[in-house]
Symmetry: D2
Subunit: 332 residues, 4 copies
Amino acid sequence: MSWFDDSIMARKGVAKGQAGATHSITEASQGKYHYVYGAYVEPVLTIDPGAVVSAETHDAFEGAIKAETDKPSEILNFPYLNPQNGPIWVNGAEKGDCLAVYIESVVPRGPQPRGTTVIMPEFGGLVPTADTAMLTTPLPERVKKLEITAEKGTVWNDRITLPYEPFIGTIGTAPEIEAISSLVPDYYGGNMDLPDVAPGAVIYLPVNTEGAYLYVGDCHAAQGDGELCGVAIEHPTVTTLRVDLIKGWTIRTPRLENEKFYMTIGSARPMEDAARGAYRELIRWMARDFGFEEIDAYMLLTQCGRIRLGNMVDPKYTVGASILKSISGIAR
Amino acid sequence: MSWFDDSIMARKGVAKGQAGATHSITEASQGKYHYVYGAYVEPVLTIDPGAVVSAETHDAFEGAIKAETDKPSEILNFPYLNPQNGPIWVNGAEKGDCLAVYIESVVPRGPQPRGTTVIMPEFGGLVPTADTAMLTTPLPERVKKLEITAEKGTVWNDRITLPYEPFIGTIGTAPEIEAISSLVPDYYGGNMDLPDVAPGAVIYLPVNTEGAYLYVGDCHAAQGDGELCGVAIEHPTVTTLRVDLIKGWTIRTPRLENEKFYMTIGSARPMEDAARGAYRELIRWMARDFGFEEIDAYMLLTQCGRIRLGNMVDPKYTVGASILKSISGIAR
Amino acid sequence: MSWFDDSIMARKGVAKGQAGATHSITEASQGKYHYVYGAYVEPVLTIDPGAVVSAETHDAFEGAIKAETDKPSEILNFPYLNPQNGPIWVNGAEKGDCLAVYIESVVPRGPQPRGTTVIMPEFGGLVPTADTAMLTTPLPERVKKLEITAEKGTVWNDRITLPYEPFIGTIGTAPEIEAISSLVPDYYGGNMDLPDVAPGAVIYLPVNTEGAYLYVGDCHAAQGDGELCGVAIEHPTVTTLRVDLIKGWTIRTPRLENEKFYMTIGSARPMEDAARGAYRELIRWMARDFGFEEIDAYMLLTQCGRIRLGNMVDPKYTVGASILKSISGIAR
Amino acid sequence: MSWFDDSIMARKGVAKGQAGATHSITEASQGKYHYVYGAYVEPVLTIDPGAVVSAETHDAFEGAIKAETDKPSEILNFPYLNPQNGPIWVNGAEKGDCLAVYIESVVPRGPQPRGTTVIMPEFGGLVPTADTAMLTTPLPERVKKLEITAEKGTVWNDRITLPYEPFIGTIGTAPEIEAISSLVPDYYGGNMDLPDVAPGAVIYLPVNTEGAYLYVGDCHAAQGDGELCGVAIEHPTVTTLRVDLIKGWTIRTPRLENEKFYMTIGSARPMEDAARGAYRELIRWMARDFGFEEIDAYMLLTQCGRIRLGNMVDPKYTVGASILKSISGIAR
């Protein structure tokens, strides 16, 4: 994990990115899961920087969709969707700081078939929705239940098996005074559905209020760019995070670092605004921390910047903009 | 006010649209103003349907911008902007009901020059913003303080005086579990900045949670379509509302009725989605309550529907879609 | 017509806005109608500034939809839609000049029922299209044939008659080197579907190439804001234009003037970009010709600018931004 | 090149994807380069399916920007930008057919420094443009001239060298009746600026009119996703294409195939519409040619579809949607 030693988390974290005390949040200790990102509830756990937290996450439907004959529109109870573990209070975290969260692992749990994806009315990238309202008749509802193992992946059908490439669909901190649906991605993180938020990566999250209030949930066993029909391969997991705190490193929106690249994450509509926001933040990062003039970073990213589409289905679309560490002169 | 006798409010309201007890919310009785729309705070007032409530509203800057030499970026403290009166608990209101709010009057108050408009960084329709991020340098900040009277209007300069055409910039109910910045417009109302929300009109608001939690604030002395630079002629007022309750009339997004038209209000990005949402809701209204087939309403609105742009500057854009009552066969 | 005497057309036109020689373009003299705006064809008529031209326009379907039992998808032959009269060569017109076109009249012609509107697949504001691609099944096709007279208007059904409020759906000049479908609106005019392009108004069009190549067609007997289902009340007409030339008045996009306001017209996607383009051009106009600083115009339009939505269905959406002449200090 | 033997080009092409006669288009034989995609000019070359054509392409500025002290806004003469080789008439091509173009090589030519990128006013993804109009002052103009070799890549500065990863920025066929600026990408191809259109790939282009009228130009030595500032590393090349014809394989928009994936290409605004168009076309392709039900393809792409952003700066944004051939059961 040599790259990690040189990561921003390892260099700037209060705990230097090193693992401290371990904690777990089980279904029982979590009790009631949460459906908004906010600071109006009591933390379920209090930790010091460096703590390692394992959380039993539910799938996005809280396990309510059990059979392929289920009708999502009858079972699901909006807005009580996308249940989140947490919030976790991080000692010492204050507005203007940054949480650094190293994703240690995402491990599937629960009885088979533990994976679920669905077509449901008014949700998805190629159907009319509450946001992109139209008059045509919705597609028929459909549920697909899937066997998932970390070793074999997801058995889609007789011919197709998708590798297990798990990541966290929803993670973030509390806004300062808002409490926003866990279906939404925004400046504090939330429902970004970005496959790079995966084991082995560090996600950096802005701290907007004392204690940070970290939430996590909604893990996916696999997902394509855009999460096209709106529902990835949802599954319950044990997700393990190492949480550090960077004092005084103020970021406006989530960032991510892994072995290969630095990434900024923008969530907005229309999609070009998500891309603009991500790229501008990357330019500002390169200007503040990597010795570039803004205009030089702008010209260079034109030639080598990379875009990853997270979701094109949530209330805001999410885009990651990144630059490879391998490009000479970029890394620290 | 004969049209009102035939309004939905008069016909369906628990109080039949008639004025009941009067209440007032002064600066003193309000105490702390609010910056989110949500149900996480105690109501400042409890009323029965029919109640008439006069509220002392602040301007969107809570009066903090006092002189043309002020620098908004130094004075304003995001997210503590757009202060709201309320919330008002409406007895009997339950999820699935509708609040009908007849706007009796908006009267300017406070010492002259009581009007304020500003150019500030990262805000406005023709400048880069946090949402539409760009690299160009912001426009210079500017403050304009304006004399306003109901009789004379707003004195813009020696040559131009704008008539006093006041309306409510921000009004709405609490979301069910969210608490959303009062800078945002959405399904529950909020910062719509739509000039039709004016004295003499009835706005219909969905009730998302018991008690409804009605908020109001942000009155404008005048505003063009789109609120182009992001800041209308902001001013403190006494705003008087008659609040009725329609049981079991479930609406998804705000609606409005006045002497001349029925309107639905959509807030979304991009702007075409706001227009789509407003028009679809109008079609569904015509189908449910006015005897049209959906497709007939769609074809008819193609020929006579009207669009009013509220804002093109807030986190969601707001559009009103309307149909004239005068078109034979539309009105009840 | 006193306002006209003070119009830009009357003040700046080569012919001072006065009517000169009269010409007509009949179906016979037109021969082949055109489906692109471009300079690759021979002009059908050559005129001097001041000329008055009456053109027999077809409806947008070239009269091919004759009965309510017709199926548009079987009859229409894309891209041979929206037939245009012209092009008209204007003597003296050069790149950088401006055509000023006073719309004298639009008169319905042809046998009854002469009006047509339709629902057709992949076209309209509330259905999936080639641009906003989705998977849901199209609405059923539908044709509505309508009786239209200038006196009575359009008989929609037993209960509803819409007043005759005709305007020109498509008008413009040739691009410099492009030839663009007459279904598209853009910087040269084209398929704007903006109801203000009506008798009594002057539309100003940029000249992009020698001779200007004026085209016109696609007149509507009525249309709501946005032309929601994509097809207004289409009808064949005799449309009479007075065409003048303004030398050296270079405009980037179409403008319009009538008794009440000055308007700029933007066509773009998403819709906010159409509004941005229109408003910026209005600001620049106010700065160049009306004695404003740009930033003052920006602040003033925030308080009194007006937006008219033309179409929300064509390949680009069209928005008009205007300012009332009545606001003291704006008019010349 | 075993994958090629199983490509659609090899299986369905008139020439079975095999190389036939060789041709070249030099600067001299090309003569006048073209700035629109259309069928209003004489072909510069006529070929049979299977022909191999080498073209001397200019850079997007036709070599006019020679020094870092040049000011693009003074040198460039809009709309005479992005010069194209061609058109090439393909014998036997008729509307409804498909051109299959295997990109054999892109080789840099011309004196050093042969690479050019610039910042120019009103163009780029993070600045106001004619489409996204704003009032802020443009960034300062800037020109960067770069040494490029195929072996070493592009020398960006002392610290950074970018690998030579050339591709074709602009390629396509003529629209049926339109002639559209070579700055625009659309259904016929054009200025897609998609890095996957690279040596070793096959691009499939719809034939809209007899002879197809193939154009090509605008090669880039490297480009990041989105072509952020609007100008990649532009350079003159010798580009070699093998052109085959697939009779009766009607496609609506460009497609691409290489060793690893099948891709569909959408160009639209806003960006989500480009993604929607690309994904819908991929679903339809999977349904027509790969044995999927549409809804199954929709659900599967949700889990494994991939998005590549071409440009976020041209008049339409371009997005490629793809599926890996390696996913069991997808490939033929």
